[in-house]
Every structure is written in structure tokens, then in C-alpha cells.
């Protein structure tokens, strides 16, 4: 099987986000960037499918040169190849742009695939857009937020998480899948993998190479404000006997917070 995985470089979840109010962006300096956590499940699932059925795992990222670091990580986990789809545009929180780059790359240069794997949402943009958008641009079936996946010939079944339950979806290949926590347990890179990844060339394709113009990639959303959320102030803290504490909690909920 030809398994393509799409990964994004994002600030790690530990990050405190500072805002540059003048430029209306977040301050990237001092942030530690990592492979988006849900993308790890997508990479792992692709590796497992390859181990079970044979084939190749190719990783793609849309972003600047700096995204090569996460591509190397995926190679070190065991992926066969990685490609950088170079787009230097700053984060726009607009999934259509990324999806157009991905769709164009696949239509023009990487036509042969069975399954496209994504994370269910990228940390930061928190969009949950690129998998569905890419699926529509390429006319493919989609199953998002997948916690269980089985492939048999040119058909698959997946369980996807919904409110308090799941649904079982059957689909035809090629298709788009986005991974949710619970799908698998991502492996660590091995030392051997890290050494091999170091030596591996990562080919780069620019948006111009793909024949995309500024008009094709025109931003769909215009940011008109960026602020920090209101800081929560510490409220009352008590250190009483449990029975008294319980009474006081209930009193607070009823009299002050009025939530019960």
C-alpha cells in the first residue's frame, strides 16, 4: 500500500502563548516546536499498516524549511520518505490554503496512493479542517476522528468518535483518515532510525513548483483581532474539616455561583 501521512510543526503544548499586538501574531521566539501530537498517531498507524500489508510510508508537511525537523522525526520513527511542500506564509488559521497545496501536490506529482492519513486536529490552529477539505478537493471518502481502523483489499472500516458514542463507517479506498487518540500507541524513534534519518535527503517542492499562484492561495479569513483570554483570578480557598468544607462548597454553588 502507498500510505501518505500529513504532519504539521506546532508549538508544544507546554507553551505559554504571547501575543505581538502590533503584528497581530503570536510571538514565535522562545517557543519549542514539535510534531503535532495527533499526527503521531497517524504516522504510527501508517507504519503498522505497512508492517501488516507491505508498501511505503511517505510523510508530507506544508511549511517552511524549519518543518524538516519534524519530517526527520517521522523518518526516525520508520517512514520510508519525506517531502517538504515549502510554503513560507505565516500561520493564517485557514485550512483551505494548506489543503490546496496538498491536493495540488498529489494531483500533479504523487498520484499513486491508497490512504491519506492526518491528525484529527493540529495543535494551535485547532482547525480540524485540512483532512475534510483535502478529501473534498480530491473527491475522496473521509473518516475523521478515527479510533479503530481496518483495511481489507480496497475497502476499509473505521470507528469514529462522536458525542458519547462512536459510529462505524465503511469506506472505499483511496480515502482520507484522521487519527484520534486511542487509535494506537506511537512508537519512539530508535537510535538506528535517527542515524538513518540524518542521512536521508528531504526533497523540497515550492508552491510555485506546484503551479499555484497567489490568487489560488488567497487568504479566506482576515484576522481582525487577537487577544489573550481573560485571566482567571484566584477565588476563595478554604482549609476546613471535610464536612464543613463540603457544606461550604454547596453554599458557594447555590448562593454565590448560582449554578445549582
Amino acid at each position: 500500500m502507498n500510505l501518505f501521512v500529513f504532519v504539521k510543526r506546532v508549538p508544544d503544548t507546554e507553551s505559554k502563548i504571547k501575543i505581538d499586538h502590533e503584528k497581530r501574531t503570536i510571538v514565535e521566539e522562545g517557543l519549542n516546536f514539535v510534531l503535532s501530537p495527533y499526527d503521531e498517531y497517524a504516522v504510527e498507524e501508517a507504519l503498522r499498516l505497512r508492517e501488516a500489508k507491505g508498501g511505503r510510508v511517505v510523510i508530507f508537511s506544508v511549511g517552511a524549511e524549519t518543518s524538516k525537523v519534524i519530517l526527520k522525526k517521522c523518518l526516525a520513527m520508520g517512514a520510508d520518505d519525506a517531502v517538504l511542500l515549502k510554503d513560507e506564509a505565516p500561520e493564517s488559521y485557514d485550512g483551505l490554503r494548506t489543503s490546496k497545496v496538498i491536493a495540488k501536490a498529489l494531483q500533479t506529482k504523487f498520484k499513486d496512493f491508497d490512504l491519506l492519513l492526518f491528525g484529527r486536529q493540529s495543535m494551535g490552529a485547532d482547525n480540524a479542517q485540512v483532512p475534510s477539505m483535502t478529501a473534498e478537493l480530491l473527491g475522496l471518502p473521509q473518516v475523521n476522528v478515527v479510533t479503530k481502523l481496518e483495511i481489507e483489499g480496497n475497502r476499509g472500516t473505521a470507528e469514529r468518535e462522536i458525542e458519547g458514542a462512536s459510529e462505524k463507517v465503511s469506506f472505499s479506498l483511496p480515502a482520507v483518515i484522521s487519527a484520534q487518540k486511542g487509535l494506537n500507541e506511537p512508537r519512539y524513534e530508535t537510535l538506528k532510525g535517527i542515524m538513518a534519518a540524518k542521512r536521508k535527503e528531504i526533497p523540497v517542492l515550492t508552491v510555485e513548483d506546484l503551479g499555484l499562484s497567489a490568487a489560488d492561495l488567497a487568504p479566506q479569513l482576515k484576522m481582525t483581532g487577537l487577544e489573550s483570554p481573560p485571566v482567571r483570578q484566584a477565588g476563595t480557598v478554604i482549609d476546613d474539616e471535610p464536612v464543613i468544607a463540603a457544606k461550604k462548597i454547596v453554599e458557594f454553588l447555590r448562593e454565590k455561583a448560582k449554578v445549582i
Binding site: 507553551s15 475534510s132 477539505m133 478529501a135 469506506f171 479566506q220 462548597i249
Partner: protein, 325 residues
């Protein structure tokens, strides 16, 4: 015109759809345009009547023999046909599992962007503006739309639902032709969760447990507490989920669910930045932690320094007494 996608699952319309419809009504009034809604699936005329009472002037019923169960590709094809015909200025979806799955696909088909998971909408200079959390709520960004229609998903449990009126409206049925290749992804089966519990994203109250719960058996305490409180669900920190004390669908936080209930009660949760990212927009936070230095106590509206195993039993009794009055 503002068009609102109303999600039907199992023949049911969940409350959050009416919240989104109400928000659509407020913005439609402000913009001086009509509010319309769209339902997909068979036998939905009865449901349409309800939507009129929330301000929809017209309800579009998209029927097709094969649209009885959800299929993102086929639903998209159906909605794109409707958009082509009625040309709305704004399309709103609930940021539910179906809305989040479908809205970006429909937007891509229409060649426009989406603002995901919005928590505020307004009209500024005659245009729709939305506010949405990014970086798991560590920042709030406002957006306007460069292309039409403007498409947004709106977070459940955030927007107030209006009082229904006795307004009537018009039903518009549409014959659809959906190509066979649009049925490549179909829901075959609905798998109920553990005891059909309320999901944390839908609950008014969340009682959440962390590593301080010590083991899986103690989550029963939280389930009992949730059972006493109205419309309550059980949440958990990643530490509790990773220890397999409770299923991952209960996890709150940056790699779990983002919640904004009326009340969030944290038991034995320290308040790590990734946890707080998922619950800091809760209206009221109560925390019980035996460590007076725990970060969660510095952001809680009401904090108790104490042993959760000693506090929960009398708390249950107090609540039972009060709520049965």
C-alpha cells in the same frame, strides 16, 4: 440570508442545534436578512415545524433514499446543491462531531474558508465577525471573511437558545441527484458509549478526576456525584486516562476535549497547563486538592485544601439533601 445546518442523528435534534439557530437569528436580525435552516434525511417535516419557532422563515428538507445515514461525501454533495441554488451569505454549523466533519468539506467544495469552533459572533461594519479560541484557548482571535458564503462552526453550550415563539414558516423540499461515487463513506452502525453517558462537551456540569483519584474503582465516586447533579458528566485528566482508569473520551485538555460548562469540579487534578487549556473557559471552577500549592487552586473560584476521599462523601450528602428539597 443566513443558513443554519441542523444535525439530525437517530431522528433527534440535539439542543445545541437550537443554540446555533438562535445565534443565527440574532445575527440575521442585525443584518436585516432572513434565517433559514436545512435538514438532511427522510421524514423530517415534524422536526421542521420546531425550527420555525426558533426564527427560521424557511426550512429546506434535503431528501434522498440514500441519505438516511450520515455520509460526509453525500451530505456535502447535497448541501453544495442547495448553496448553489439559494446563495446564502452565511452558513453556520454546530461545532459538533458531525458539524466539524462536514463544514470544512462543504466550504472546500464552495471554494471558501471556515472559522472553526467559534464562541462569539457579531456584526461589525455590516459584516459578520466571529471570535474563536486558538492554541487551545491560550489566545482568542477575531476573524472576518474574504469570500462568500462565510462559513463557521459554533461551539455547543456557549450560545443561549432563545424562547421559542409561535411563528410558522415555509417548508421547501428539494429533489436531489447525488452521483453514486458520493457514497464512498457511510455510517453503517451507531455504537453506544458506556451506558449512553452524557458527553463532557454537552454537559452543564462536569465532575472531573485526576491522578489523585488513585485508581479506576474510585471513579465510581465521581459517577455517583454526576448522577446527583443535573445534566452532569464525568471528566478526567490525561494522567487518569493514561493510567486507564477511565476512557479517553472523558479526557479534558489540550489533547482531550475543550469544555465550557457552567460548573467544572476538579478532584485530585493539579492544573497542568494542558489540562487548564481545555477547561479554563468554564463559567465556575471548584477544586479539591490536598496540596495548597496546586496551580488549580490559584484559578478556581472556590478551592478546598483537603483529601477528596473525605470531602466527596459529605458533599454527596449535602447535594442530595439540597437537590431533593
Amino acid at each position: 440570508m443566513i443558513l443554519v445546518f441542523i444535525e439530525v442523528r437517530d431522528g433527534q435534534i440535539k439542543k445545541y442545534n437550537l443554540e446555533i439557530l438562535s445565534e443565527g437569528k440574532r445575527r440575521a436580525d442585525e443584518l436585516g436578512v432572513n434565517l433559514e435552516a436545512v435538514l438532511i434525511g427522510p421524514n423530517l417535516e415534524g422536526q421542521a415545524e420546531d425550527l420555525f419557532t426558533y426564527g427560521a422563515k424557511k426550512v429546506h428538507l434535503l431528501e434522498h433514499p440514500q441519505l438516511s445515514s450520515y455520509s460526509p461525501s453525500a451530505y456535502t454533495a447535497a448541501l453544495l446543491q442547495l448553496l448553489e441554488e439559494v446563495k446564502p451569505a452565511v452558513v453556520l454549523f454546530p461545532a459538533s462531531s458531525m458539524g466539524k466533519d462536514l463544514a470544512p468539506r462543504v466550504a472546500a467544495g464552495a471554494g471558501v474558508g471556515v472559522a472553526s469552533d467559534c464562541i462569539r459572533t457579531s456584526v461589525e461594519e455590516g459584516q459578520l465577525e466571529v471570535v474563536r479560541p486558538i492554541y487551545a484557548g491560550k489566545a482568542l482571535a477575531a476573524f472576518r471573511f474574504n469570500s462568500s458564503p462565510a462559513v463557521a462552526t459554533l461551539r455547543p453550550n456557549v450560545f443561549p437558545a432563545m424562547e421559542p415563539s409561535d411563528q410558522k414558516g415555509e417548508i421547501s423540499k428539494k429533489e436531489l441527484s447525488i452521483p453514486e461515487d458520493r457514497f464512498g463513506d457511510r455510517v453503517d452502525e451507531y455504537l453506544k458509549g458506556e451506558g449512553a453517558e452524557l458527553d463532557v462537551t454537552e454537559a452543564d456540569i462536569i465532575v472531573s478526576g485526576g491522578r489523585g483519584m488513585k485508581g479506576p474503582e474510585n471513579f465510581a465516586l465521581l459517577k455517583e456525584l454526576a448522577a446527583i447533579l443535573p445534566h452532569a458528566a464525568v471528566g478526567a485528566s490525561r494522567a487518569a486516562v493514561d493510567s486507564e482508569w477511565i476512557g479517553h473520551q472523558h479526557q479534558v485538555g489540550q489533547t482531550g476535549k475543550t469544555v465550557s460548562p457552567n460548573l467544572y469540579m476538579a478532584f485530585g487534578i493539579s492544573g497542568a497547563i494542558q489540562h487548564v487549556a481545555g477547561m479554563s473557559s468554564s463559567k465556575v471552577i471548584v477544586a479539591v486538592n490536598k496540596d495548597s500549592e496546586a496551580p488549580i487552586l490559584k484559578m478556581a473560584d472556590f478551592g478546598v485544601v483537603g483529601d477528596l476521599f473525605q470531602v466527596i462523601p459529605p458533599l454527596k450528602e449535602e447535594l442530595k439533601r439540597l437537590l431533593s428539597e
